[in-house]
Symmetry: C2
Subunit: 234 residues, 2 copies
Amino acid sequence: MAQSNDTTSYKDIKQTVLARIRSGKWQPDSLLPNEQELAAEFSCTRTTVNRAMRELAEEGYLERRRKAGTRVLSAPQRQARFTIPMVRDEVEALGGTYRYALVSADSETAPEWLSARLALSPKQSVVHVRCMHFNGNTPFQYEDRWIVTASVPQVQQTDFSEVGPNEWLIQTVPFTNVELSFLASRANATVAGFLDVTEGDPVFTGERITWLEGQPVTFAKMYFAAGYRMTTEF
Amino acid sequence: MAQSNDTTSYKDIKQTVLARIRSGKWQPDSLLPNEQELAAEFSCTRTTVNRAMRELAEEGYLERRRKAGTRVLSAPQRQARFTIPMVRDEVEALGGTYRYALVSADSETAPEWLSARLALSPKQSVVHVRCMHFNGNTPFQYEDRWIVTASVPQVQQTDFSEVGPNEWLIQTVPFTNVELSFLASRANATVAGFLDVTEGDPVFTGERITWLEGQPVTFAKMYFAAGYRMTTEF
DNA sequence: CAGTGGTCTAGACCACGGA
DNA sequence: CCGTGGTCTAGACCACTGC
């Protein structure tokens, strides 16, 4: 199928193995034949079997350990992958026209809660940017962001009136680690005003911390407009 | 590093390539050397280069096309992976003791909104299960679930007083497709009561639809207790 | 058409970790 | 110790697609 020829591809093996798991032929927790035996069964090399099984393990269906062999996971630890698009792309994917508006950008001393959150030394300088992302004229996301000046000195000379801080950061600073959270919060007066909802309404909220080689770069809170849902399929 | 010997491993290549991207030596949108040239540079086989570059592409750093070659993605489409653990595991990972309690389980005719959502023919039979998941004695999640009888006939003879519907389903029915959404909703009187929050409070909410070979199996709403956040690092 | 990535083979050495 | 998976090599054929 996958190949025009009749060779057994790693995709064929994946499909077959998945089918055996689903049909119950290979029960959860049961030990599977080793790679050599499977290679013989599928009349291909061990390399090909290895790729198939390795990918199935990455996808959360199997557990593999040297010497112990390969087992079917009883509760498939399937992973949901959410692509984290830039706001602009997300709006445009909805068929809308993206518009950005700066609310404020100020250099200030990091508030205590932020210093604690990012493990900054006290009274470090940060740039605080607040901005809005629109879908046409409809509010889409209100963003509240702090950028650590010491990690990104150029931020002090940057004008965020045309380019959003996220797009600017991505083009300017690489990152090595990200912590991303989602939660439901309550709209305070400010957020409610920007998102055109009633104060106290539930707001889908994201928090993102970004590091570069252990140095904190930025902390962002993203408040999504009413009705937003983060969706994935797998 | 990765190997005890001094051979160049695919992991070394990944690191080097990432470093070049981050340092700006390989600019976004720029065309990279082809696999043969890279293999020569790293003095390894093309197979090894291929694995490194393929994985970097899967991770969202590169774009590869036959004949067109490999390019650095301008806006790294990094993906957040959330593992979707079973509630029990999630609670136990927090160091708590998991406790399950059935609220109700009834066979009924699918309400119209559900038929529409799952594309069921009208008036199909479903089993409606409501239950609670606790962390010790603290409410953790309230679950509202419908299971399509036609897809899982055994559900009619199943007692959900001891085993939660999710654990039961996972052990009973395989699935091929899942749609998973997260949103912020407002606690109605029922949800507020079960989660011990005030009516109208924001509630982090998940919705999950599961199919087996195109057949809808189950629809679940999961309401998380106050303070819940879904977190990932990458 | 021709260049690039996608995949397979046949064989090898080795790291890990269970018994 | 020694079986199992993890990875690399050297070489090959081919699918796709831009020119």
